[in-house]
């Protein structure tokens, strides 16, 4: 049973150029789907289209079905009810994604009060609790700080915490580890894995890096220049890629791994 079904998604600019076309996507409940592709392949645009957060110059067409609702035709008011509490998204750059003039604790308190009904005195504890959940070392300090005062890894965890505070059913992670150090990225991935599992969320993980995807998703679609070129279980895509672009991606990833004394990819 799909929780999210995308059919024939097309995103175009006013000038008539299609940035994304004929994209199909199936997300069964509780599943983990990866979107693999390089920059400019349209993967982030697809994520933005699903949450209807595309800029004013971009228009989307096709069908995005979430639990029976056609997201491209519901009203903005309805969409606001879906964003956050049903479908949440975490972006690549947490520094620009967070309000620079507001403390972390203050920003976290917004979704906490809206979606979990926490108010007043209980807020401080709740904020610290949430920060603990995303394994932040010093929750009190971080809650008091402004986004530019904490490290990149902490920021991304905070962004994750904010999205999770909405208790969404579907989480879209758009290149959330791309701007992090490898070791920090690995920790964040582990954290994400744990949280998705314990909360029974469905996950769409977007990345240009196969090894990252291999640690977190089971199935994937490969996007190139705005279209889906291949899809299937990630294991199959890596073992026997059919499309030339996929082949290229897999080959370069394998070459990188070969140069390491220890293989990084899980179970393959």
């Amino acid at each position: 049973m799909n929780i999210l079904t995308v059919r024939d998604l097309r995103i175009s600019v006013e000038a008539g150029i299609d940035l994304v076309s004929k994209v199909d996507l199936d997300l069964p409940a509780g599943a983990r789907l990866g979107i693999l592709g390089e920059s400019g392949s349209g993967k982030s645009l697809t994520a933005l289209a699903i949450t209807r957060l595309l800029g004013p110059a971009l228009h989307s067409y096709g069908s995005i079905n979430f639990r029976g609702s056609e997201l491209l035709s519901v009203s903005e008011k309805e969409m606001c009810k879906i964003r956050g509490s049903k479908i949440a998204i975490v972006f690549q750059d947490p520094l620009s994604a967070l309000d620079p003039l507001m403390t972390v604790g203050n920003q976290l308190s917004h979704p906490l009060s809206r979606y979990q009904g926490i108010k007043g005195n209980g807020m401080k504890v709740a904020v610290e609790g949430v920060l603990n959940e995303v394994k932040i070392a010093n929750p009190k300090r971080v809650a008091r700080s402004y986004p530019h005062e904490i490290s990149g890894g902490e920021r991304q965890r905070v962004a994750l915490a904010m999205a999770l505070a909405c208790r969404p059913e579907v989480l879209i992670a758009d290149e959330i580890t791309t701007s992090l150090d490898v070791s920090i990225a690995a920790e964040v991935l582990e954290l994400l894995d744990l949280l998705v599992r314990t909360r029974n969320m469905s996950l769409i993980f977007i990345s240009h890096d196969i090894s990252t995807l291999s640690q977190i998703v089971d199935d994937a679609i490969v996007m190139h220049k705005g279209v889906v070129v291949e899809r299937g279980p990630l294991r199959e895509l890596i073992r026997s890629p059919q499309d030339p672009y996929t082949k290229k991606l897999v080959a370069s990833a394998i070459n990188l791994e070969k140069s390491l004394p220890v293989h990084g990819m899980r179970n393959f």
Binding site: V13, L19, G40
Partner: protein, 274 residues
Amino acid sequence: MIRINPRNSKMLTGSILLALFLLVALLSLRWTPFKLDDMSGGRLSSPSWQHLLGTDTLGRDQLSRVMIGARIAIEVGFSAVLIGILIGGSVGIIAGFARGKWDDLFTSFLDTLIAFPTLLLAMLIIAARGTSLFSGILAIGLGISSVFARVTRLLVKSVLSKDFITAARVSGTTWPRITLIHIIPNIWPTFLVISALQVGVAGLAEASLSYLGLGAPPPNDSWGSLLQQAQNTVYSAPLSAIVPGLCLVLFVISVNLLADGIRFHFDQNSRVAP
């Protein structure tokens, strides 16, 4: 060479207008419909075929005076900006390279300076040197220098922080060479845009100074002077108050459009596809 987008209408309109002013200004050097000491037109006459814009209180032809005004506007505008670029630019480049306490010093100094309105600074200088065309140019030029200094400093700093500078240093390039082949090519587009805008600022500043009676004395009557002289007769001869002002506005708009056009031209060349 440089490819200019034909759809860059701002730049086109701006340049055409500006070119028009330039032509009139150059023309006025050689010929005007009437000479300035020719006071035969009769006081404050209305526009006629002889005097297309009428005459002023002394019987001089308004059209000729407006044409001379164009020359003054261009002279002052471009000269002041030149001074601004030379002085402000040099200070800005030095400040951009500054580190440590020199850096802090420059920051405080330039931030203080830019908060100071150009006109006030210009008045200060004219108070000291007396009124003349050169005083005016110098005064406005120095006022504009503060803008250029601050902008140049910020630009230089932002370029210096980029990685390719570190790369150049690592590969042994000397600072003078870096300035020449890395810094200047990266900052000159913005520089050009700012310069265009400041020509308008200079023109307006000069007009204000002249209007207050602090500008260049006759025969270098700028549009501002013309407006000041028109003030007392605005009821009977509104054209004398409208035309010079309109010219000034069009002049400033033309340089502003040109500036926008230049910015657009360089922006679209650096635009990345989504």
